[in-house]
């Protein structure tokens, strides 16, 4: 798991979360949020990959991603 020099746009993510929640973030919360996001992405991509495999595509298609989005979001609803 080698992300580039910068692990992730911390400030941006922080701002986004702050905007949506109307709350401030504590120091380590954003790292765990990022971890959660990575998990979400993993499950989403996994589902989408299954979908696109089922429909016989070779790569990941936008359609399968859109199909999988709903379930993945529901799965990660708190």
């Amino acid at each position: 798991m080698a992300l580039g020099k910068k692990a992730y746009p911390k400030a941006t993510v922080k701002k986004i979360i702050k905007a949506h929640s109307n709350h401030n973030l504590k120091k380590n919360a954003d790292v765990t949020i990022f971890l959660n996001y990575v998990l979400f992405m993993e499950s989403l991509v996994k589902e989408a990959a299954i979908q696109s495999k089922k429909s016989g595509e070779r790569g990941l298609s936008a359609r399968s991603v859109k199909k999988a989005t709903r379930d993945a979001l529901a799965k990660f609803k708190g």
Binding site: A2, I16, H20, L25, K26, K27, A49, V65
Partner: protein, 505 residues
Amino acid sequence: MNNTTPTAKTPSRTPNRRLVHTPLDRSAPRELRNSIRRGTPGSASQRNAPTPHAKAARRALNQRRTAMFTPGKNRRRSLMQQRETPLGILRTLGKVLAPVSQPIASSSSSPNEKSHIAPIDEDDDDELDYDSDSDDEPINPPELTLPIDIPDDDSDDDLHPPRLSGLEDENFTVQSVELPRRFTNDQSRLSRGSFGSARVSDAFNEFSDDIGQQSDFFPGLLENLQVQPAEDDSTLERFDADQTRGLTVGLDHDFNFEIPAGVEEQTTFLMSEPGEDLPQTSPIIERSVTEATGAEAQQGLVGDVGLGYSDSDNGGPGFDTGGFDFDAGGIDDHSSIIEDEPTRVEPEPFRAAPDTARAKASLKARRKKKRISRHGIEYPALPTSFVKRVAQTALQSSGLSNPRVSADTLEALTQASEWFFEQLGDDLGAYADHAKRKTIEESDVVTLMKRQRQIGSRSTMFSLAQRHLPRELLQELRMPVPQPTKQRRAKRAREDDEEEVTEVT
């Protein structure tokens, strides 16, 4: 001892011995005991060996033991158990009784010919006849058989007990049929998360159409709908759409396609919604107004509606992403629209007009335009490079043959992650509120991940982090920065944050 010695000496099959002798089981231990006392085990075994009766008994005992320990073997050898099952017993009993009980079937099938059953059903009005019949013949068998075989006659008559049983049976079948229906309902509910949460943001799970229109600001959309002159119509239309979707499989397809359509459209659209409510977003209000006017204009020309919509479809492919999907979805939509034009007329052009106007500009506009959360706080767009990186790392582990991420896929992923962050922020804010805090702490995230079943007995936060995070982040997570500096930093950050918040609001 007197008895045992002679048998040992002369192993004979004399009846006397059998009578006198108790079963051999007893003799064997006794002899064993004797041998132990005497210290001559050989003699005992010699004595035992010759007696055929003992042999037979031992064999029987062994067999019984083996039978006990290996029941399967016994079963296989003889069909004893199969025969002994209650059903088998009943069957044999039935075989025995078959000739006697045979008339029952014929009586139920032909009630009119014999007085047997018919009188019971039809003569309910005058009970005298019924009684007389009952005297003549046994009533019980026909009552039992009746309800099952002849439902039609039951419906005419007032014979309660038999009909009740019949009805119960019917109910059973009906319930079993209904189960799948309920199941679908549950699914929709499940996707929503929980019954109680009637949050507006959940609505997009229920009506996928809405996904298209409303993205980030669900409340805004609802209000907008209310603003529309024909709000009743709009709601009606929505429900209709839902029904058709449930009924026809074909539409299912198109509704999937519609989501993509929405994805592009929404960016422009959605932003417009809050604009009306919150005075902050200026440019979008104008758009929405123009849209509304365009919609009204098109309402006047009912015939044109179809055309206008098709235009929007054509605009779709030029738009940017999956051209094919778009067209297919558009065609399907057409048919559905034509079916119920009066209700659908208003929303469709409403959506279509802006698209044709600025189809290609939308993508770039999306980047530039300002996003405003429901709390009225502006926030930056998620950098696509970041999404792409995360997606690609995830894709590597998914084992797809082609790990490339195309542009429209990336678009969909970005949209999904935007939704995700919105949902996440919402949930985390709710948790923090619940704890009466103004800041989101790590514990909130932990709670959230527990609720998501990410953290459980099987995995902890650290194990997940170990697996999914790069090392520097892992370290940050594991060992927090030394206390004093951290506090200072945190305090400063908090102050900054608060300042920002106050500025924005």
